[in-house]
């Protein structure tokens, strides 16, 4: 059972949250996420969910209250964007380090300054090493599907790590697209009931959470977290398989678009991958063997699998919608290049930083990237390893 709807990404995300029916949602409004908590508040006040909504006075408190609720044994969610995510920063690490399976939609937006409310990935990319699982979506359908799967991924006993469900600000969050919603009871059955192992609320078995953990044990706890991260890939695939049975929609660690026989390819994540598909189609019509790798699971990074998928290419361009100011390229580039190096793959990899602060990326611009790749293949030289695409001089 599913229903065809035409909704904005934010509306879809609040529908996913309604269907998940978390015990607690603690959140703060921030553009472009606001509509999620706004719509969800209406569900709460209309009695459509069992959720206690905690309208905090800041994102720091939103994440803090979510941690308190999750540690208490509740299925707890929040949602944020941009500077809101930045304000949560400290507590992100506490959530993952405490192994709390919180699910948080993040509506990706540029970080200040100067202030800009539009889409880029600076916010989530900055939090990429906070111990959270990160899923990215091409469109509202994927964002919805990821949110529902995230609950199951996070709560898996071999994982117990929080997940950020990323969705491009405005481009997805504020655009109406048509998609399928699952039936409420199917989502409920899929996510099941959450039973925390050591909740604060269990009076018979009091537990101390978040102690001072010094040189003698902190490292061991971080090692446990690293092991859990290792487990994520398998669990993501298991959950995807189960979800496919329910929805008919297929998910993996990443999507390969016309990559099989491709000679040149782009690696990207988020809504741009949709536009890139059109570029690939156009180029294919002109005889260019173009392909695309769309990353869905970015943290933990499926290095081996991605490298394997790219290993037979001649050249690859990694697209980053975030700057690191390292002068060595964006975050995705660093990961992909390292993965290719480990594989010993003979593939030239270059990087394009694009779309900062909501700068539009047109089909032609993506096509130009493929043309650059062809030239690299032809001349066997890389002139600029890292380029900024679509910026004026």
């Amino acid at each position: 059972m599913s229903e065809q709807v035409a909704l904005t990404g934010n509306e879809v995300m609040s529908q996913a949250m309604r269907q998940i029916n978390p015990d607690v949602v603690a959140a703060y409004p921030i553009t472009p996420q606001t509509a999620i908590v706004q719509t969800f508040s209406q569900f709460v006040n209309d009695g459509d969910v069992d959720t206690e909504f905690v309208p905090t006075e800041s994102e720091h408190s939103a994440m803090s209250a979510t941690v308190g609720a999750s540690a208490s044994g509740a299925r707890a969610m929040t949602a944020t964007a941009a500077n809101g995510l930045a304000l949560m920063w400290e507590v992100l690490y506490i959530a993952s380090g405490t192994r709390l399976p919180i699910v948080m939609p993040v509506v990706n937006r540029a970080l200040s300054g100067p202030i800009n409310i539009h889409c880029d990935h600076s916010d989530a990319m900055g939090a990429r090493d906070s111990g959270w699982i990160q899923l990215y979506a091409e469109n509202a359908q994927e964002a919805y599907d990821n949110a529902i799967q995230a609950v199951k991924i996070s709560e898996n006993k071999d994982v117990m790590l929080p997940t950020m469900v990323n969705m491009d600000g405005f481009i997805i969050s504020h655009a109406v697209e048509n998609l399928n919603l699952l039936a409420d009871e199917d989502v409920q059955d899929f996510v099941g009931e959450y039973h925390a192992e050591n909740p604060l609320l269990d009076s018979e078995n009091p537990v101390t959470v978040g102690p001072l953990d010094l040189q003698d044990f902190y490292f061991e706890h971080k090692m446990q977290q690293a092991v859990a991260a290792e487990n994520v890939k398998d669990v993501v695939l298991e959950v995807a398989e189960e979800y496919e049975e329910l929805s008919g929609r297929e998910y993996g660690l990443f999507e390969e678009y016309k990559l099989d026989d491709a000679e040149v390819a782009v690696v990207a994540l988020g809504s741009t991958t949709g536009t890139a598909k059109t570029a690939v189609d156009n180029l294919r019509e002109n005889g260019v063997k173009a392909g695309l790798s769309k990353i869905r699971l970015y943290r933990p990074f499926p290095a081996e699998e991605i490298a394997e998928a790219l290993a037979d290419l001649e050249a690859v361009a990694v697209m980053d919608r975030a700057e690191t100011f390292s002068t060595t390229g964006g975050p995705v580039f660093a990961d992909v290049r390292a993965a290719l190096y480990d594989m010993g793959a003979d593939v030239e990899a270059v990087n394009y930083i694009y779309g900062l602060g909501g700068r539009d990326l047109k089909v032609e611009e993506i096509e130009s990237v493929y043309k650059d790749l062809e030239e690299i293949v032809e001349t066997n030289t890389v002139e600029d390893r890292v380029q900024h695409l679509g910026v004026r001089e």
Binding site: A6, F170, V176, E177, N178, K362
Partner: protein, 190 residues
Amino acid sequence: MASLTEVRWHGRGGQGGKTASILLGKVAAKSGKNIQAFPEYGPERMGAPVLAYNRISEDEITLHCQVTEPSIVAVLDPTLLDVVDITEGVPADGTIVVNSKEDAKTIKEKLDFEGDVWTVDAYGVAEKEIGRPFPNTPMLGGLMKATGLIEFDKFLAGIETELEKKFAHKPEVIEKNLAAIKRAYQEVAN
């Protein structure tokens, strides 16, 4: 994506341009098409010129870039013609529908546009049918006639469903809007 149609809405903040694009998208989706409807967001407030877009296609739409070459343009306020270039990017065989009391020929000349130009007095229609000058629903009616994007009967049925969701507690609003759409459909001319 041969079947892709792109629409650009010009309005003023508060006029319902965004709502018009969403309604169009939703109704088109109901009729089995793939759609996108999205406004251009900025810090603009009430009165400022604003934009909204639609993509409508028989095929899956994966594009997530801005619409730069819309084949259809709807203008919700006649005074916008003096403020923004509403023909920007519109191909020569495109269609432009303008809320204006003037006839299509006059507007076509004013715009210096080769393509199909239609006008409808959306404010007048709205005043008559709704009692207030909301140009967005009449413009949808005009757009349907001018472009044939969706079969009009199907469109009417679809819009009724959407309005029912929006105005569940105000059935009279639904009736008035439907009447405005129908009147604009009749009155729009090229």
